[in-house]
């Protein structure tokens, strides 16, 4: 029975074994020269650049995301639910769709330039370099940050709101004593997640960076794997990236301790700070700016509507089905792993009183983001090659790698809620002698069901839009929609590619809508 309550440790071990095993195989396959890689001056520059751009991207995403979340928490307006659902959407856009969307608005011939020319300001806009990279990264990540933070704000219990009202808290006091503690718990996880996503962002940085001075380590890993076929070098680069990111995530997690959650929850009370004039003006400004920044790139994706009819064929149907199946498998895996890890983190924090160890479990999903998917896939492929037919390897590896890739995002939904369930009802259920499945059913399920659904939908959307390792294992059987998109691009069919991009975004939107509905319904 006791061993059954440790699935989290097993999952953690399995993940570690996969990653370490994958890298080790890669190093061994590298053959004759497993010598330590000399880090040249270029790589040092790339590492510094990656760190700076990722730090800036996450800082901007966090600040903008928090402002959006607070404004959305304080205000009610028509279409709010739709906006909240759409927030989960940018993150899952295929990167090439995001690049084209950003350029459609801010590019040399984009809407902004056209608008400025229209009113007689003939400026040459060029966003290549830091502006382009930051715009794209904030566009992709800030809405997701807002989503998660909005969820966190909604967990502030009604009692506290009533207390705040009775005490006549000013908006500043509310921010400090009610909102900030709720947000702070999310900061390390979110900051780490966004930082890592940006740190290894690859196609976006190359497309919008303007030159090889602005590249990420992922480019060098890709080059070693695909062009040099130097697996040893790829493994070492991957190792450097992982170690660096691991150190940063852990530092972040330890620097900002997570506050314990409140004890009870009831229907959300009316926020007393809604009536404050100054705050209303500020929130309106934030919402309008948010809309101005986020909506145009979205709308530009709609240009794909024109050729939707041309892409709806048998190829599309097959790719659609493949994508859905892979995404569902990946999402299932991500959710199960998140549950197991979250459970372990809770055990260590609450029952065993080992918060540092618990923080390690909390940080593990994020750390996965640092692992370069190409290197991991290549390593795992080599590892299973003696046992599995290469043609079937793709069917195993694709959902696995996508599931691991979606785990950090699923964990953002699931991990904190598991902890809340334990903090609120753990002692009670222990005194009632609830164990095992009963405890899961009575204590965890009510509070977990919805975030679980949300996590599943988001993980599915993420995997759905991900091109990732299909590049290596796609084929006549394993064609996903992003694969189809690139195939059409490669055949000059830019319009069809943009239609496929639009359809991917639409499916993701439906999933995000679902996810939004689920995560925002009251507990």
């Amino acid at each position: 029975m006791r061993s059954l309550s440790h699935p989290g440790s097993l999952v953690a071990l399995a993940i570690l074994a996969l990653v370490v095993g994958g890298f080790a195989t890669l190093v061994l396959a590298g053959g004759e020269k497993p010598a330590l890689l000399a880090i040249g001056p270029y790589l040092v520059r790339v590492l510094i650049f990656s760190t700076v751009q990722a730090a800036l991207s996450s800082l901007l995403s966090l600040v903008f995301g928090a402002a959006l979340a607070l404004a959305l928490a304080r205000r009610r307006f028509p279409g709010r639910n739709l906006v909240v659902s759409a927030l989960g959407l940018t993150m899952v856009m295929p990167t090439i769709v995001a690049v084209f969307a950003v350029l459609a608005v801010y590019g040399r011939s984009g809407w902004l330039a056209a608008g400025l020319h229209g009113i007689g300001i003939p400026v040459e806009i060029s966003i290549f370099g830091y502006p382009g990279i930051l715009i794209a990264h904030v566009f992709l990540n800030a809405p997701f940050v807002a989503r998660i933070m909005l969820d966190a704000l909604n967990t502030v219990p009604a009692e506290q709101w009533r207390l705040a009202q009775t005490l006549g808290f000013s908006p500043a006091q509310i921010l400090r004593h009610l909102d900030w503690p709720a947000l702070r718990g999310e900061v390390p996880g979110l900051a780490g997640l966004v930082f890592l996503v940006c740190f290894k962002s690859f196609a976006i940085v190359l497309a919008l960076g303007g030159g090889p001075a602005r590249a990420t380590l992922e480019v060098a890993i890709y080059e070693a794997l695909k062009i040099d076929l130097d697996f040893g070098r790829a493994a070492w680069l991957a190792f450097i990236q992982t170690a660096l990111c691991l150190a940063l995530t852990l530092a972040l997690n330890w620097a900002i301790a997570r506050p314990p959650a409140a004890q009870t929850v009831r229907a959300l009370a009316v926020r007393p700070d809604r009536t404050d004039r100054g705050l209303l003006a500020w929130d309106s400004l934030v919402l309008v700016l948010g809309l101005l920044f986020l909506a145009p790139p979205f709308l530009s994706v709609l240009a794909g509507l024109a050729h939707v009819a041309a892409v709806l064929d048998a190829d599309f149907a097959r790719a659609f089905a493949t994508s859905i199946v892979i995404a569902a498998l990946a999402a299932l895996m991500a959710c199960l792993m998140a549950l197991a890890l979250g459970g372990a983190a809770r055990r260590f924090r609450l029952a065993a009183r080992m918060p540092r160890l618990a923080a390690l479990y909390d940080a593990l999903p994020n750390t996965l983001l640092a692992v370069p998917p190409f290197a991991l896939t290549a390593g795992l492929f080599l590892a299973i090659r003696p046992f599995v037919d290469p043609a079937t390897a793709g069917y195993i590896l694709l959902p696995l790698i996508n599931g691991l890739g979606a785990l950090p995002f699923a964990y953002r939904f699931i991990g904190p809620r598991i902890m809340i369930a334990g903090e609120r009802y753990g002692r009670l259920s222990a005194s009632l002698g609830l164990r095992g499945l009963d405890r899961l059913k009575i204590m965890d399920w009510p509070i977990l069901a919805r975030p679980l659904g949300a996590a599943f939908a988001l993980a599915m959307a993420l995997s759905f839009g991900d091109f990732g390792v299909v590049a290596l294992f796609g084929g006549t059987e394993l064609q996903t929609l992003p694969y189809l998109l690139y195939e059409r691009l490669g055949a000059y069919r830019l319009e069809e590619a943009s239609s496929i991009g639009l359809l991917i975004v639409l499916v993701s939107f439906v999933l995000a809508l679902l996810s939004g509905r689920l995560s925002h319904a009251a507990d």
Binding site: L103, G107, G209, G211, P212, A220, G474
Partner: protein
């Protein structure tokens, strides 16, 4: 409900049975995605080959030529590939070093590639020249030479591909070397201010160009043919450069590990025949390696005809790629 399910299962079983009963030998051909995609030549080629071979041709695809080699390297001896279609000259030496390929054994006399063909591992199946493509409505006087493009500080803005991740990107790096020799790095530094960006692959770069982010894009001399034939637009042109153009040759080879060497060999023979070659120009937008009797489509005659083909041998590329790339990195990453 269950009745229908039963029927479905039954028919599925029958279909499988029928498939097994036929038991034609399967020829597995690896290629890149746009070759086997909706608009690629793969379907036509499959029909035409299956009409004569009494076999079942199956395509397995990787994203691009680089991924093909990567995948072969990963699969090693256990690869299912009988034939690989879609490598290129700049990857040929690396592919050969995998020691997975058998001599092609095909008579390559009379291939229409602008260089002498002596390779005994790979045969060419199509080819083209790299070129900068521009929109003649927007750019009235394109540069007439690579030197003019590089050395005119007020010249057009270009979007290129990263030579570390992309085949045309590497091709242009080699082109610069051919024209500038050891001065290539200095030339890169001169060109850099007018390079909008170096993208991961051809698709991103071409997309950026079509969306108006740059005046010219690194592509192929035959790219305008696509716009004329498929879109009826004649404003996209390739700029002819007086120094000559870098040659891009796409290759096919058969594996040494194949269980059906005869079938693989007969496919390689088929590659240089009319039914294969005539499928290439208007699907892959490249020149056929052996001119079909029907001739190449008229539109290809309107394309830029370079005075000189520039090319490094695969071995030279293998030997120098690292140094060339590092030079480029140093010159452009300041």
């Amino acid at each position: 409900m269950f009745k229908r399910l039963g029927l479905t299962l039954l028919s599925l079983g029958l279909a499988t049975g029928a498939a097994l009963a036929q038991s034609k030998p399967v020829l597995t051909v690896y290629t890149y995605s746009s070759f086997s995609g909706k608009y690629g030549p793969a379907k036509t080629i499959e029909e035409r080959f299956e009409a004569t071979c009494n076999c079942d041709l199956q395509w397995v695809t990787a994203e691009d030529a680089g991924s093909l080699v990567g995948r072969l390297r990963l699969e090693g001896e256990s690869t299912k590939a009988d034939v690989v279609v879609g490598l290129d000259m700049n990857l040929a030496a690396e592919a050969r070093n995998l020691k997975l390929f058998a001599p092609h054994g095909v008579d390559t006399k009379g291939v229409a590639v602008p260089v002498e063909w002596e390779d005994d591992t790979f045969i060419p199946f199509d080819w083209g020249y790299l070129a900068f493509v521009y929109d003649s409505n927007k750019l009235k006087t394109p540069p007439a030479s690579l030197k003019e493009l590089v050395e005119n500080p007020n010249g057009p803005k270009v979007v290129l591909q990263d030579p570390r991740t992309s085949a045309p990107g590497l091709g242009f790096l080699l082109w610069m070397r051919k024209v500038y020799g050891d001065g290539a790095d200095a030339a890169w530094a001169q060109l850099k201010p007018r390079v909008v960006t170096f993208t991961k692959g051809w698709s991103e770069a071409y997309g950026l160009f079509l969306k108006g982010e740059a005046d010219m894009v690194m592509s192929y001399t035959t790219s305008p043919a696509y716009h004329v034939v498929a879109e009826k637009k004649d404003n996209y042109r390739a700029a002819a450069f007086s120094e000559g153009h870098y040659l891009h040759v796409e290759l096919a080879g058969r594996t040494r590990t194949t269980k059906q060497p005869e079938l693989a060999k007969s496919f390689l023979d088929f590659v240089l025949t009319e039914p294969f070659q005539s499928a290439i120009p208007e699907t892959n937008w490249m020149y056929p390696a052996k001119n079909p009797a029907s001739g190449t489509p008229a539109i290809f005659k309107d394309m830029v005809q370079p005075s000189k083909a520039l090319i490094f041998t695969p071995e030279e590329v293998l030997e120098n790629r690292r140094a060339f790339t590092d030079g480029w990195l140093n010159a452009t990453s300041r």
